[in-house]
Amino acid sequence: MREDYDVVIGLEVHAELNTNTKVFCSCPNHFGSDTNTNCCPVCIGLPGALPILNKRAVELTIKAGLCMGCRINDIAVFERKNYFYPDLSKAYQISQLERPICIGGGVQLDSGKFIRLNRIHLEEDAGKLIHKNASIGTLIDYNRGGVPLIEMVSEPDITSADEAVEYLNKLRNNLVYAGIAECKMEQGGMRCDVNLSVKKKGSNELGTRTEMKNLNSFRSVQRAIEYETMRQIELVEAGGVVRQETRKWDDEKGESFSMRSKESANDYRYFPDPDLLSVKIERDLVEKLKAELPKLPMERRKIYLEEYSLPEYDVDILLSQKEISDFFDEALTYYNEPKTLANWIMTEVLKYVKTEEEFKMPLKAKELTEVLKMYDQKALSQANAKSLIEKLINEGGDAKELAKKYNLINDISDDAVEEALKQIIEANPKAREDYKVNPDKISTFFVGQVMRATKGKANPDKVKELLNKYLN
């Protein structure tokens, strides 16, 4: 990045709402169904069909606004955005322009910098073109048509690719934590357009901006911003002029290319949709939705750091997925030792999470705390506690019953441990000699041998104590 230029970035982020049905009809809002099966006269735009607003979609949009500190409009209006494209069945998209549901708000970055939002509005998604087979031509799948989408438009407050990615992460975390959207970028559940311009450092004169589309991962957002910044700077440095245009990012090539210039841009001829009455948003509803919101990541971070005194490293891991944080919070209600709990989750639970699948905690929070309680009561050795967690993950069920089933409960007497140790010392004269020279290393050997002889039930501290007695 060149030091003598400033980059000015605004993001338009789309997220598909987590509703059961589409925004203007009762077809299922479901990804991955057979093509054109989640369709009806309304969402394929048959003549005579009329949209009926899904109230849940409005509620989730309000919730999104509340998460980002937006003002919620008393009256929201849906407008038609008119343009022709085969994936748009009615030749207009029902969207919002003059009176969106949410106004203002924003997201605070870790640096303290605040990225302002201009608005959050609700609209319908378009269908999808399929260009699989050139001999057939292009096919259209309207399953996605009419899926509720919120568009979150930022002000041009972002000044680097890193800030953009952090902002996106925070937006996404809020939406996911509040159950508003799943934001699966790989399924198109969250999409991002980047508006970017460059200007000489300190200059008040804004450069011409380009809009970049087709950014399907945080990484491509990062790369596209870096690429576009350099492209514009090099262009200006070479005496050229940045054209106002829409560019498409090609993730494989790592570069963007021009899709259309401003001159050929659509005039969308927005006007209020006469099929939909304006929506009156009652304050009571807003208050009710506010009360339903869970604790958001920022708030949880504060609690983890300040109330639980967890190190930042732990907090980052716990907050990296809503499922982990929810698991941790639930477990705390049974077992109020934040740091111990965090350690066990990080070292003994998360290693079993299959990253290639949908993120899911592998066992119930309550069962983990049962294991920890047994361990604290010395009913389990540490090794058996770990093994019990593994068995719970593989088999499910009740921690106590599984511990019994696999004979993991620490029912061995101190005498039996002492007897086992004596026999091992007898059988290993060399180790006994070595112990005098290198007690730390050899004690590990003896502890391991005792654990094996006692099927993991011996308490390693007790074994060390006994070693002291016999060998010193």
Binding site: P41, I44, G45, L46, P47, G48, A49, L50, P51, I52, L53, R80, N82, F84, P86, S89, K90, A91, Y92, I140, D267, R269, Y270, F271, P274, D275, L276, L277
Partner: protein, 470 residues
């Protein structure tokens, strides 16, 4: 010619068989083919009538229209049947679902016997602009039947059906009813569901019945009206039994005469006589102002094309409309299919609509028109605080000769008295009330405030039954 109510009773009492009634009307349609009013007789109509007869013979109760034939306009969806909107573009389009009004008719046992000619996509006032060719006036074959529901009105006036459904965006039910000397109502906006009606201007479109008399009309609207969860603009208000408005007297009813309308009339003799007659019957005549009523016409020709330009975008040659054979690129699928598919008047209005919505012109046209609409609504509301209904002529004169109006703006000016009810969203009925210089009917509109169809029917029915002309 039987009324709907007579047919309902005779079929119910088994004095008449539905199949014979349906057959009779289909015969009339076939005899009057040259009028080009009913463009298709549905081939299952007689079978449906037969099955209704069988069920009635077994003593089943089959609803308020059991066995009664009805014709629908070509822009009303009836599953499996063509809904061509009288457009070349849509000639092959078969409805994939029933409109709410068709569902209501079917559930009351009606037999939908055919579809009626119209102006393409309901844009026009003469039913000359149809892919099926022009429809003729039922009373004078050299004259237009009016439009856009000209086929529906001609069919009713010509005895081809006891009832037809029409749609009215700027007068398309009332004006053809006037030209054919029959009764047609445009209900309050939102009173009848628009679900399954091919939209022209969504904020103005209403479905309504066209009948030979007021009582039949009230009977039909009692069936068609009502809230529909599939139409977001549908009104939740209870539907009264409009038959209660029939055979009432009008003593003390305050009838409003709009000062501004009087100034627009070419010849007010017939109208003045009607006003005197109402006064003689004990009604109170009140002069009211709707200062901006003249602006309704330009407002309409901004709002309706604006909405139409968007509503008709879905007819793009991609999905169900005819695709141009010459189209090789996506751009050409749109431009060539639409240029070939839409007629000149439809294209004119699409262009007009796109113009008034385009950036830089939106505020000057669309936004301003919406403001004027609000002002007119307010003026009507004030007027209705002083009177129970307002009467005014439906048209400037009798039905005119086919082909005599060629300038689109002259054609638009014909709608001057019908458009205000659409702009204000209020109910308005046409009843025949006098004869013009050529002996052809002139129509009178009775309008009332939003949802007061009862008053409209009461005054219209009283006139029909008591005035010497009838």
């Amino acid at each position: 010619m039987s009324t709907i109510i007579e047919l309902v009773n005779k079929i119910k009492s088994r004095e008449l068989k539905s199949v014979d009634v349906v057959k009779h009307y289909i015969d009339v349609i076939n005899d009057k083919k040259e009028y080009n009013a009913v463009i298709e007789v549905f081939d299952d109509a007689l079978d449906i009538a037969k099955s209704i007869d069988e069920r009635l013979d077994k003593g089943e109760e089959l609803g308020k229209l059991a066995g009664v034939p009805i014709v629908i306009k070509d822009n009303i969806l009836y599953k499996g049947k063509i809904a061509g909107c009288a457009s070349k573009f849509m000639q092959d389009y078969r409805a994939e679902y029933n409109s709410t009004v068709v569902n209501k008719l079917i559930s009351e046992g009606a037999v939908i016997i055919g579809r009626a000619n119209m102006d393409e996509f309901a844009m026009g006032g003469s039913t000359e602009k149809s892919v099926y060719g022009p429809c003729l006036n039922a009373l004078d074959k050299t004259r237009v039947p009016g439009g856009s529901s000209g086929g529906s009105a001609c069919a009713v006036a010509g005895g081809m059906t006891p009832c037809a459904l029409g749609t009215d965006t700027g007068g398309s039910i009332r004006q053809p009813s006037s030209f054919n000397g029959i009764v047609g109502i445009k209900p309050t906006y939102g009173r009848v569901s628009r679900f399954g009606i091919v939209a022209f201007a969504s904020s103005l479109d209403q479905v309504g019945p066209i009948t030979t008399n007021v009582a039949d009309n009230a009977y039909m609207l009692s069936i068609l009206a009502g809230y529909d969860e599939n139409d977001g603009t549908s009104l939740k208000a209870e539907v009264p039994n409009y038959m209660n408005a029939i055979n009432q007297d009008i003593k003390g009813v305050k009838i409003g005469i709009c000062n501004q309308v009087k100034a627009l009339m070419k010849d007010s003799k017939a109208f003045d006589e009607a006003v005197e007659w109402f006064k003689s019957q004990g009604a109170e005549i009140i002069n009211v102002d709707i200062k901006d009523i003249e602006l309704c016409l330009p407002v309409y020709y901004i709002l309706a094309p604006a909405e139409a330009s968007s509503n008709l975008g879905r007819f793009d040659g991609v999905k169900y409309t005819r695709r141009s054979k010459d189209a090789n690129t996506l751009e050409e699928i749109y431009s060539k299919s639409r240029s070939e598919g839409f007629g000149a008047e439809v294209q004119r209005r699409i262009m007009l609509g796109n113009f008034v919505l385009s950036s830089g012109y939106y505020d000057a046209y669309y936004v301003k028109a919406k403001k004027v609409q609000q002002a007119v609504k307010k003026q009507f509301k004030e007027a209705f605080s002083k009177c129970d209904c307002i009467i005014m002529p439906t048209t400037l004169g009798e039905a005119y000769k086919i082909g005599s109006i060629t300038n689109p703006v002259d054609m638009y000016l014909e709608d001057i008295f019908t458009i205000p009810a659409n702009i204000a969203g209020i109910p308005s009925i046409n009843i025949p009330y006098a004869k013009g210089p050529n002996g052809l009917p002139l129509g009178l509109q009775v309008m009332a405030k939003e949802l007061n169809e009862m008053m409209v029917y009461r005054v219209a029915d009283y006139f029909e039954k008591n005035h010497k002309e009838n």
